[in-house]
């Protein structure tokens, strides 16, 4: 019997160890993440959603999502930050990161950046820019993703 079970046990251990190879990389299940973000839009109607891949590096980096809007419409943004191994700050501006005189409209620091679901509402804007401020890591090279769903009414 040992002849059968020893190699089997070795293989299971091997599979177990190898499946943890990814380290702090978190599963980015687009379907689950977007559906959960969409739930947070109610009573707003779902418009669109964006999944942003977040790569942690040894220095702070920024990933930006440009969001065109229709002026006069009311929007709700719902962020799902569950699939991130380390908290990422969300900042929302009226202009892109290359612009000089941009205005900060929202920061997830108010209320804590550790929150997994974050909401933001806006109207009277033609465009907003979501900046994900990705903190540096000592080890680098692990990843996750941030999702935003946008709704209108």
């Amino acid at each position: 019997m040992n002849k059968i079970f020893k190699p089997l046990l070795t293989l299971f251990v091997l599979v177990g160890l190898m499946s943890f190879q990814g380290g702090d990389t978190i599963l980015c299940d687009a379907k689950q993440l977007k559906e959960k973000a969409k739930e947070g839009l109610d009573p707003y109607k779902y418009d669109s959603s964006e999944l942003t891949r977040i790569m942690y590096k040894t220095k702070e980096t920024v990933k930006e999502v440009e969001v065109p809007l229709f002026i006069g419409e009311k929007y709700r943004f719902c962020f799902n930050m569950e699939a991130l191994p380390k908290a990422v700050e969300i900042q929302i501006y009226n202009k892109s990161k290359d612009s000089k005189n941009r205005k900060l409209l929202f920061s997830s620091k108010e209320g804590g950046i550790d929150r997994k679901v974050i909401q933001f509402e806006v109207s009277k804007s033609r465009q907003v820019y979501i900046d994900y401020i990705i903190p540096p890591t000592e080890t680098g090279s692990y990843s996750g993703c941030a999702v935003v769903a946008i709704g209108y009414k």
């Binding site: 002849k3 059968i4 190699p7 089997l8 293989l11 299971f12 091997l14 599979v15 190898m18 499946s19 190879q21 990814g22 990389t25 978190i26 599963l27 980015c28 299940d29 687009a30 379907k31 977007k34 559906e35 969409k38 109607k45 779902y46 418009d47 669109s48 959603s49 964006e50 999944l51 942003t52 891949r53 790569m55 920024v62 990933k63 930006e64 999502v65 440009e66 969001v67 065109p68 809007l69 229709f70 002026i71 419409e73 892109s96 990161k97 033609r126 935003v148 946008i150 209108y152």
Partner: protein
């Protein structure tokens, strides 16, 4: 012998599992393609790995139509792209994607004008073109067709059903690493939407329709920035960008728009005057682009 019989499948499983270890999305992708065999309809070699510092979240055709309806424009059925054209578009990913967008806009236009039977026909057109893109699963799940029929005269419910389909298609493109198809489809949807708005304005000269058209034209720049990320993914994208750029230039050359943009001010498009000749130039370019997509 027994050991060999047992260990071989386990070893295979171990290799499969660990090869997905570094990229969990790959694992999801494999699972999805097992569920929907039609995914092979799309050329999977076109899957694009992306890691851009800036990305673009484009609105849905549904939302654009919702905003357009507020302008009070009457429904003009002759502006819609005929559903009889569906089979013409199964020639390239570009043709499939742009016309998927065109039909999505037509569906949304019908929906917000409470043309529910027409909406059903255009949903079918979206489903048919969507099947060429491997999107069957997005349209077939959750008894979508039955729920649509059951709620056909209830705008809110039907809009919810269509929004759910849209979310599913977004997710499928994401999982298949075909984000470029979403952008191309949106370019098609936007083209159809500005075509409807410009033709509606040409007919009725309703100032609110013109204001909405100008607001929609503001999207041109963002669409082109998004398309430029995927310039090499489909050969037709370069020409699409050039056509959108022509429309954008004509729009930005309207004096009141030009002044506002130069001053980096938010222009109130309700107060912008467009001369007959400026409008003719714009609408001519829009018709040309729409024709290149749908014919």
């Amino acid at each position: 012998m027994i050991i060999k019989k047992i260990t071989l499948p386990i070893l295979t499983a171990a290799i499969i599992l660990t090869s997905c270890g570094d990229n969990t999305e790959k694992q999801t992708e494999v699972d999805e393609s097992k569920i929907d065999s039609t995914l092979t309809a799309v050329d999977t070699t076109a899957a694009i790995e992306e890691d851009h510092d800036v990305t673009y979240n484009l609105p849905s055709a549904l939302h654009i139509a919702y905003v357009f309806k507020k302008s009070g424009s009457a429904f003009i059925p002759t502006l819609l792209n005929s559903i009889d054209n569906v089979n013409k578009y199964n020639t390239s990913n570009y043709k499939r994607a742009t016309n998927f967008g065109v039909y999505s806009s037509d569906l949304a236009y019908c929906l917000f004008n409470k043309k529910f039977q027409e909406s059903k026909n255009y949903l079918k057109a979206c489903k048919d073109v969507g099947s060429f893109l491997g999107l069957n699963q997005a349209f077939d799940g959750d008894n979508m067709a039955q729920r649509f029929d059951k709620n056909i005269s209830n705008e809110d419910s039907v809009v919810k059903i269509v929004s759910n389909i849209q979310l599913k298609t977004d997710v499928m493109f994401e999982q298949n690493k075909q984000k470029h198809i979403t952008v191309i489809a949106f370019a098609g949807a936007w083209t159809e939407s500005i075509y409807i708005a410009s033709e509606a304005y040409a007919k009725d000269k309703n100032k609110k329709v013109l204001t909405n058209l100008l607001e929609q034209l503001l999207l041109a720049e963002t669409i082109n920035k998004a398309l430029k990320h995927y310039e090499k993914s489909e050969p037709e994208i370069v020409n699409l960008i050039a056509s959108i750029e022509k429309i954008n230039s004509a729009f930005k050359n309207i004096p009141a728009v030009k002044v506002g943009l130069e001053k980096d001010e938010d222009v109130d498009y309700a107060t912008v005057t467009v001369t007959e000749s400026e409008f003719k130039t714009l609408s001519g370019l829009i018709v040309e682009l729409r024709k290149s997509i749908t014919e």
